[in-house]
Symmetry: C2
Subunit: 188 residues, 2 copies
């Protein structure tokens, strides 16, 4: 497996995002990312399958944290309140990474293929949430609709957080977005 490199994964992610931002995603190679990080190409491939994976590895973590928090809360809460707990847990993950996430978003928005990948990750979160809700006794179509609502709030809250002042916390923007969805569906 080669020698251990301190925080190689994080250094590769930072280097990749710098290069994607400077010269564009398409124009950046794995060799260049590894060089910028002071690591080898082989080390890169120990951590990421390809250069796209650098941008989306975190999305799997988001899904895992979101689903686990919702599952825990469903034992004592209605689906919509469990989703709120999940959004809180997800917000905590992002708290210290706004700059990284902002740069990442600019890179994704400049590339249709990356935008597609982003949509797929959101659809995957929706499917996982729906499965969790069903496992906890929520019937269809309520489970799928609650899951879609949970992803809609995440998506809109996330975009607002990226665009917001640094003082605005993601957890608050997620809660606001959930409240807005409730108002909209109630006919407000």
């Amino acid at each position: 497996m080669g020698r251990w490199e301190p925080n190689a994964r994080g250094r590769l992610a930072t280097a990749a995002l710098e290069l994607y931002s400077e010269r564009g995603y398409e124009q950046t190679t794995v060799v260049e990312i590894a060089r910028r990080a002071g690591l080898t190409e082989r080390t890169f491939f120990r951590h990421y399958a390809d250069k796209r994976e650098v941008l989306f590895a975190g999305a799997g973590d988001v899904q895992e944290v979101y689903v686990r928090a919702v599952a825990g809360a469903l034992k004592s809460s209605a689906p919509i309140d469990a989703l709120a707990v999940g959004l809180d847990a997800v917000s905590e993950m992002f708290a210290d990474h706004r700059d990284f996430v902002r740069s990442r978003q600019v890179v994704i928005m400049a590339n249709p293929e990356l935008q597609e990948r982003d949509l797929i990750k959101l659809a995957s979160i929706s499917a996982a949430l729906a499965a969790t809700l069903r496992r906890h006794g929520v019937t269809e179509p309520a489970a799928s609709l609650a899951a879609e609502a949970g992803v809609a709030v995440f998506k809109v809250g996330f975009e607002r957080w990226i665009a917001a002042d640094d003082e605005q916390e993601m957890s608050q923007l997620m809660r606001d977005s959930l409240d807005e969805l409730k108002a909209v569906t109630a006919g407000g």
Copy 2:
């Protein structure tokens, strides 16, 4: 432009879907589709950009009908009620095409690339609905959340309609799904 072929577009769509269902989407060529429809390859390309477009040409119509109906209803209705009017208009489009839509769905579900295209079409509808809501004075984030809700109900209602008995009408399933979303967000 070549001679006029009666209902060439519809014949090509039917032939394409038959072939995709029989032998798989990847394994079907444009030449084969044209031959099955009794038309030329050149005629195919007068109607569709490629073999994928045959499956998604209708998605643009859905977006147009949905957005136009919502825009009309927004003059006198709250966003959520305008979305209900839009879903009714969309349901009317589909009413006589359940068999075609069912076969199409089986083809899409068997192919990740087509599923991605489907997600992109839904995201496009969401963006168009949000723009329409904003144009009619709905502020953000309510506009984006209402649009996401409108797409979520369409997506879930559509899946239920495909799976349902032939007696169940799409418009009713859409209304049921919207009611379920309201109940879920209200904490029911």
